[in-house]
Structures are given as structure tokens and as C-alpha cells.
């Protein structure tokens, strides 16, 4: 009987194809909006997480000065770090995988006729480990090169492309400013950071080379620390803070004059933000689903009025109240579910397009698709009930007389 009723309602829907499609338009748009927005939101979350993982997970950054107003905020000028600080960290704090002192300076890279403005980053081989950054070709620095501050460099993917247009650069000599550097390796491509900068636009050189030949100072800008896998970054952060306070002789009543940033905290903050945004977008879309439901109720009421004689005939022929109730309920639910299916297809298509435009990964979440489908069915049940009851309670005599 239920199957018959479903077939019957499908037939009724097909009989009024245009009106049926207009009726479910609200549901279609609502479901499509939910699916598109939530998929885009999940994609954005996944991208942020992946980007930060690409910067090196388990990574902590120690910088001199206090940062106000979050990342990129104002920084108090204060005593800079030195290479000795990095050495001390590596020696004193247990559970570290690698410690890399890092300094950067913008520089003009020149090879033959090619000329490229980039950043010279001075560090040690530990930098590759901290950033989880493999080489595409060549070799890392030797201990001798790092210690002696020799003029060797490892090119970022972008610099390699711009200077050599894909030719083999190993053994070639490029110039950074006025100093000639021998290319010993090329980094694997890493892509854009979550802040939109090109991470591959870099030339890596030994820290001492940068200090002696380019900046002429012994400062270290940042010390990057990678916690051993599975080690709590919170403990490492506490150890770092204690050690640096000691080394910088900060009194008990004084604020830190340096900052330890835990990348995992930043990940949590960023993904938390995108998740809240996703939930908000989903809520807005759910409201449009509700509006779609009211549309269904509206049209079902019109349909009941229009088909009063049909209902009268059915009642006279021997339909029970619950048969008529079931018929109109099923019609509303089938209509809403069809709308839900269309909305899911449309929403996934929209999400596929949107993820391509926004350059975020397409994250298919079966949960939200199932939820949207069930929700549209529920909308049919809830908003179909009132019109269906209206139909079922008709007086057959009145209904048969209805013009």
C-alpha cells in the first residue's frame, strides 16, 4: 500500500511538473546552499590545516620581543638572539628533533641575464628538518660549509624556475647582491603559505654566510624548534620560556621580552575560526530550507483545495482518513526529498566550482549530504502534515459538491 502510494504521488508530481518544480525550488536552493557552503567551509579548514602542516607541524618559533595584537602585530624592539641561544636550546631542552636559528634579508638574485628579487634565508641544515622540507635535487650543506660560512646556496623552487627556467642549476654560480654563491641543491616545491606568500621564493644559505657577507651582524631573527613526534609542544613551550628567561636574565617580576609561538595553537585557532564560519553559513542556509518548507506547505494547501473533488471521490470510494492523510504526506515527503536530491546534486556541483575558484580542496562530507537529505524529508513531513490533515478531514459530501 505504501509503495502504491509512493508511485501514486510520483504520478501526481509528474502530472504537475512545472508547479512541482516551483514548489520545491526553495528546498533545492536551501539544500544546495547548505551543501555548497559547508563543503567550501570544510575545504577552507582543510587547506588551512594542510598549509600549516606544510610549514612544519610540531614547530615552535621563538622570537625576540613581545608581539601585540596577534601575528603581524607591533613588536617591541629588544635584545636580539644569537647563534649561541640556538646552541643552548639544543643542548638544554630534551625532546627536540631539531633547532634552527634563522635570519632573513631581501636580496637580488642574478644568474646570467636573469634577475629576481627574493629573500636570502640564513640557517643550518636543521632548517630543512624543522620545516619538514625535502630537497628536489642536490645535497644539503656540509658541516664545513655551515661552520666556515662558505658561499653556497640551496634554491627555492620559484627562484630555480625564474633564474634557470628549469635547467639544471647544480654547480652553477649565482650572485646575491655582490657575492657569488655556488648552487648545491634545490628545495622541493611547497606552494603558498596560508598567509598567501610564496614559500618557494627563497634562497637558503648558511647562517654564518648571511651574517658575515650580507648583513654584517651576528643577530638571529628567529629560532625555529621542532618537537620530537608525539612530544607535547606545551611542555617544550614551557621549557623554552624558562630557558630563555634564564639566558636573558629576566627578573621574576618582569614580562618576557621574547615570544614563543606554537604552530599547533595557531592551527587550532585558525581551524576553530573557519569551523565557526562554516557553522554560521550552514545555519543561514538552514533558514532558507525552512523557508522552502513553508513554500511546500503553501502549495500543498493549494493542491488540497484544487483537488477537493478528487479527495471527495476517494473518500466516497472507500478511502479511510488515514489513506488520504498518507497520500498527501507521502506526496509532500516525496516532493521534498526529490527537491533535496536536486539540491544535493546542485550543491555538490556548486561546491566543485567554488573550490576550484577559491583554490581550496574539495572535501566531500557524506554526513552533511545525508543530513541535508534527511532534513528535506523532515521538512516534507512537518510541512506536509497540516495540509494532509486538512485533506483527510474533508467531509466527503461537501468535497464532492465542491466546484
Amino acid at each position: 500500500m505504501l509503495w502504491e502510494t509512493i508511485l501514486l504521488s510520483l504520478r501526481a508530481i509528474r502530472r504537475n511538473a512545472l508547479r512541482s518544480s516551483l514548489t520545491v525550488l526553495g528546498i533545492v536552493i536551501g539544500v544546495a546552499a547548505v551543501i555548497t557552503l559547508v563543503t567550501l567551509g570544510s575545504g577552507a579548514t582543510a587547506k588551512v590545516t594542510a598549509d600549516i602542516a606544510a610549514m612544519g607541524s610540531n614547530m615552535l618559533q621563538v622570537r625576540p620581543g613581545q608581539v601585540f595584537g596577534g601575528p603581524g602585530g607591533a613588536r617591541l624592539s629588544t635584545v636580539p638572539f644569537e647563534s649561541a641561544d640556538a646552541v643552548a636550546i639544543a643542548r638544554e631542552i630534551p625532546g627536540l628533533r631539531a633547532v634552527a636559528p634563522v635570519s632573513s634579508r631581501s636580496a637580488q638574485a642574478i644568474y646570467g641575464n636573469s634577475n629576481w628579487a627574493t629573500t636570502a634565508t640564513g640557517s643550518t641544515n636543521a632548517y630543512l628538518e624543522v620545516r619538514d622540507w625535502p630537497l628536489a635535487m642536490g645535497r644539503p650543506f656540509t658541516d664545513g660549509e655551515v661552520r666556515a660560512g662558505q658561499a653556497v646556496c640551496i634554491l627555492g623552487h620559484t627562484v630555480h624556475r625564474e633564474l634557470f627556467s628549469g635547467d639544471d642549476p647544480l654547480g652553477a654560480t649565482i650572485r646575491l647582491g655582490k657575492i657569488a654563491f655556488k648552487v648545491v641543491g634545490v628545495l622541493a616545491a611547497k606552494g603558498l603559505s596560508s598567509f598567501g606568500t610564496d614559500q618557494d621564493d627563497v634562497v637558503l644559505i648558511p647562517l654564518r654566510t648571511l651574517q658575515r657577507r650580507i648583513t654584517g651582524r651576528t643577530d638571529v631573527g628567529t629560532i625555529m624548534v621542532s618537537a620530537a613526534d608525539g612530544d607535547s609542544t606545551a611542555k617544550v613551550q614551557a621549557d623554552l620560556t624558562r630557558l630563555m628567561r634564564e639566558r636573558r636574565r629576566i627578573g621574576l617580576d618582569q614580562e618576557d621580552d621574547f615570544t614563543v609561538r606554537d604552530m599547533q595553537e595557531i592551527v587550532a585557532t585558525l581551524t576553530g575560526t573557519t569551523r565557526v564560519l562554516t557553522a554560521l553559513l550552514g545555519a543561514v542556509a538552514a533558514v532558507s530550507l525552512l523557508v522552502g518548507g513553508i513554500g511546500i506547505m503553501n502549495i500543498m494547501l493549494v493542491s488540497v483545495t484544487e483537488r477537493t473533488r478528487e479527495i471527495g471521490t476517494r473518500l466516497a470510494i472507500g478511502a479511510l482518513e488515514r489513506d488520504v492523510l498518507l497520500q498527501f504526506m507521502v506526496e509532500a515527503v516525496v516532493l521534498a526529498s526529490l527537491g533535496g536530491l536536486c539540491g544535493i546534486a546542485l550543491g555538490l556541483a556548486g561546491a566543485a566550482l567554488g573550490t576550484r575558484l577559491l583554490d581550496v580542496p574539495f572535501v566531500f562530507s557524506p554526513g552533511i549530504v545525508a543530513a541535508a537529505f534527511l532534513f528535506s524529508g523532515a521538512v516534507g513531513v512537518i510541512f506536509g502534515f497540516f495540509p494532509a490533515r486538512q485533506a483527510a478531514r474533508l467531509d466527503p459530501i461537501e468535497a464532492l459538491r465542491h466546484e
Binding site: M1, R314, A316, I317, G318, A319, E321, R322, L400
Partner: protein, 241 residues
Amino acid sequence: MSSARATSSPPPLIELQGVTKVYGHGQAAMVALHGIDFRIGRGEFVAVMGPSGSGKSTCMNILGCLDTPTGGRFLFEGVDVGRLTRDQRALLRRHYLGFVFQGFNLLNRTSALENVELPLIYRGIPARPRHHAARRALAAVGLSDWERHSPGELSGGQQQRVAIARAIVTRPAVLLADEPTGNLDSARSVEIMELLTAFNRDQDITILMVTHDPEMAAYAGRQIHFRDGRILADADGKERQ
């Protein structure tokens, strides 16, 4: 004494005992039926006549179990219909009654075959026997070639024949026809009346038919005339001639 008789012989198919029907309350009360009594036996063909407002439609609604009397009793095979619930009356209609309306009341954009199948669906008959029964009913009204046509593609006479097929497909005990020829020309009307007469005669279906037209009423074996909520005359055809 009467109870002893009731147990010894089967009750009549339809029996009205002092049936009254009042619409509204107090000052606005309108009496549609003032105590109607009659019996209809199995296999009768009864024409119900009378001007509009005479109470014949009210009486037909009660006989069709669509309405219940205000007073008195309507017994269907000895069952007091006035005591049944709405759903029980629907089941009674489903299993014992067939309806033919003046306006045909077929489902639009639905094939003749599907229209005829409708009452069988409510009876829970599975698809195959249902198709079979519906085809046979359509053949009985001479519309075998029109199964796939929807009401919009059929003439008025054909539509009414589909409606008759829908009414008799369940082999009901009683067929209630409300002005079945009211919307048809005389040639089509004659066809319809001949069909009804044939079903009455061959399948032993009791027919109650409301009509204005004495020519149509002449097909019936018995005529009941209503006026002002009372029965004016109740005569079988032989007496009338």
C-alpha cells in the same frame, strides 16, 4: 415477535426506519427529512425522484453512508449505520457500495485503467489481479480500446462508462448513481441506462439512482418520489402502468 422474525429470515439489504435529518440548530434548524420508512431488497433497481430540496439528495447521502441520520435508523444488512464511526462507514463503502456521479469525478490526467483500479487499490488487491479485474470491467462497459486514455481524451458518455466500470469493478452489493445521465445527451443516456440495467440484471447489483428524467426512471423497477422531506409515492413499475 419481530425479533423472532428477524433471526429466522435474513434482514433486508436496506431498511430505513423513521429516518429524520435536521441541519442546523434552534431557530435556524432546517428539517430535510421528516421520518422516512422504506425497504429495498437485493437486486432491486430503484429510481429516486423529486424536485430539488425534496430531501432525495439527503436520503441518498445517508444511503451512501456518507451521512448519518439525525433520528431513526438506517440498517444496512441489519447493521445500524448511524452507530458506525467515520472510518467504519468508509470501510462499508469500500466493500459494499459503488458510486456513479453526475460529474463523473474521474481523476484527471490518469488513464481509464488506473481510474478503474482505484477502488481495488484501497481494497489492497495486488497489481496483477487488479489490472485483470480493471480490464474486465472496462470491457464490460465496452471501452477495452480506451484503457490508456485519460478522461480529457474521452467523450462525456465514455467518461461516465469509465466511472461505471470503476463502480462495478469491486462487484458491490449496491450501486448508487446520482443523476448519472444528467450531463449527457439522450442517445448517450440510453446507453448508460442500458449498461446499468444489464449490471442490475446479470450481476445482481442493487441500483439506487437519483434522476429528474421520467424516461430514465422508467428503466427502474421501482420509483420513490420525494417531496418536502417526505415520500410522496413509492410504486413499482407494474403498478404504475
